[in-house]
Symmetry: C2
Subunit: 370 residues, 2 copies
């Protein structure tokens, strides 16, 4: 592929949904592999992949919009398979979310101009679509006319220690559920997370952003001034559909920094919309996926079975089968995942450690399993 952009955006589009699909998560091993990361796994409750579910959720708003997926070069074919309707923008190398968003914004600016962008992670689970769409719509309306960087904060339902938080500031222009931002806060320990929960002032940082292309562009220029010459170059390359060699050269120079660190924490025009009425999870592990799934499909039994399995005396256990029959006896809070070449058996409390298995396999040179 000599061009990294798969095609021009439709000129009629009133806004662009930018799906950030660069992740190469290892915490869903053995189902996720380096060449088949989490966003392509069929982990949505309707059996579709997480990236398909992300696109489906926003589809009702899409009448006059475009879908643009930013992904790793070696995943652009997978994206095309999962979302044939999407335009694909391939990153020549992984460079965190600031570069990724600048990349998409350059394309939007050049092809459509200063229209709104809704930036969405490809690999989250959300239930309660009506309320979600209402939040997206309000954010679109708000940012269409005002020069704001909008983010969506999720009211926490329990003291999660795996998420960053946003501390809300003043109510924005007396508008319900919209706030200025006091500060972005690192992942807390359990004690702090409990304080955050009870205070009512803290929201989970969902990583969903809404702004006009020109507004985020100006923020990059002002808040990351070293980036300025590279940004100019990026606009030039956008006009050429991002030729591989030159775009690669440019990307090499980009700072690898998240949009939160690079822009959101420094900007003065940030607002947070409280994501009220829907359930959100970043499904960062098998364990949180089980929780999120159960919130969506509550069941008296805390066991969750996919595939052919029987459980005896089991509680709170997830079986994710492949072709083999799986029998569980006397299990509690366990995760069992079968794939054609590897099996994971993991206690829920240690689901985050699964990535260590991947590290171990790499060390041992078992690249076929990674």
């Amino acid at each position: 592929m000599s061009k990294l952009s798969s095609g021009k955006l439709n000129k009629q589009a009133e806004f662009v949904t930018v799906v950030l699909a660069g992740g190469s998560g290892t915490r869903f091993w053995p189902l996720s592999r380096s060449a088949h990361p989490k966003q392509f796994l069929n982990l949505a409750p309707d059996g579709t992949s997480l990236i398909q579910a992300t696109a489906s959720r926003i589809a009702p708003l899409e009448s006059n919009s475009e879908l643009l997926v930013v992904t790793a070069q070696n995943q652009s074919q997978l994206v095309a398979q999962h979302l044939p309707q999407a335009k694909v923008l391939a990153e020549p190398m992984p460079k965190n979310t600031a570069a990724c968003i600048a990349y998409a914004a350059a394309k939007v600016l050049v092809e459509l101009g200063d229209v709104p962008m809704i930036c969405l992670p490809a690999d989250h689970l959300i239930a309660g679509n009506e309320e979600l769409l209402r939040t997206y719509k309000r954010a679109l309306e708000l940012t269409k006319t005002e020069d704001l960087l909008a983010t969506i904060g999720i009211p926490p339902s329990y003291p999660e220690t795996g998420y960053g938080y946003i501390k809300k500031g003043q109510n924005y222009k007396d508008t319900e559920h919209i706030y200025s931002v006091h500060s972005f806060v690192e992942k807390p320990n359990l004690h702090l997370a409990k304080e955050y929960l009870s205070s009512g002032d803290y929201f989970w940082n969902s990583g969903m952003f809404i702004w006009r292309a020109g507004v985020i562009w100006k923020a990059f220029q002002e808040l990351m001034p070293k980036l300025a010459p590279q940004l100019e170059k990026l606009l030039d390359l956008a006009k050429l559909d991002f030729p591989l060699a030159e775009t690669s050269n440019l990307f090499e120079q980009f700072e690898s920094i998240s949009i939160d660190y690079g822009v959101m924490e420094k900007a003065s025009n940030v607002v947070m919309l409280a994501g009220v009425g829907f359930r959100w999870s970043d499904v960062g592990s098998w364990s949180s996926w089980k929780d999120a799934y159960e919130e969506i499909h509550p069941d008296d039994s805390r066991n969750l079975i996919f595939g052919d399995a029987s459980l005896i005396n089991c509680k709170d256990t997830l079986i994710y089968g492949d072709k083999k029959f799986i029998a569980g006896v006397g299990l509690e809070s366990l995760i069992v995942v079968d794939t054609p070449d590897a099996i994971l058996v993991c206690h829920r409390d240690q689901a985050q450690e699964v990535k260590k298995i991947v590290d171990l396999l790499k060390e041992k040179g078992k690249h076929g399993l990674v």
Copy 2:
């Protein structure tokens, strides 16, 4: 096969080792299957099958003896594969241990006469072969000259509730480690098992027996008098190498009763040799197999891995792999067994419940997995 006996015993043999291999245990599912029961699984510490290990243990005494395996008809080919040196006696239908031993005794009486028989279950694990052989030898010497029914009792090392016990009586003729038997005792509850352990008077009933063919024959005649006409017929059929149809007819009439109930508990000429200096386990489940294996191969880590696996933060966990890589994370006291078509994940404390999985599979008509 029109004859149920695979060939005549060698006339020179001074005794016959009778291996009782009729079991169709389900507690080693998914490795054990109805057509491939426990005794044929490669669960011996040297990687051989339990039945092969049983034969190997007695081999040093075999110079002038014969090996006779009594098994189910559909398993006689498996026996021939595992023990090509053995004579095989196929049971036309399963009829508990009394019938099984009468069957073997008839063959021995007809072909060799009143020589000693050592009757051994095919599916136990024993470590400490020198002491075991010493016990066998003493039993052979004792029963060669005296009309005794000898059994081997194992000094308990912990309060096992899954075994029957033998309460020892008086010291037999002031001979060390040989006792008359006060009584055979059912599987106790934990409280009783602890009392048995501390009293020093109780031994595990190992199911190993030593006697002359004529002595056990006489015991059958006297203690199971209804059997008398069938016993006569059995001797006649032995002379014909047990033709299938007639032997089947005869077996149908046999009472299905264990040798313990039918003979040992009623006989007055029973002695028990204390099995001192070796370790014994009936390996009735994956969990007790793990214990027995560890006694033989003690390891600082309580984890036991067969196949390709990696464990992170795991304790006391058994991985029995097949072709797939298995990763365990945060597991404690767990058993994981992979086979080509089924996976078991089971807490050690509930290893006995594995048979319920087999029942469940039968109910569901999944006979391929049973």
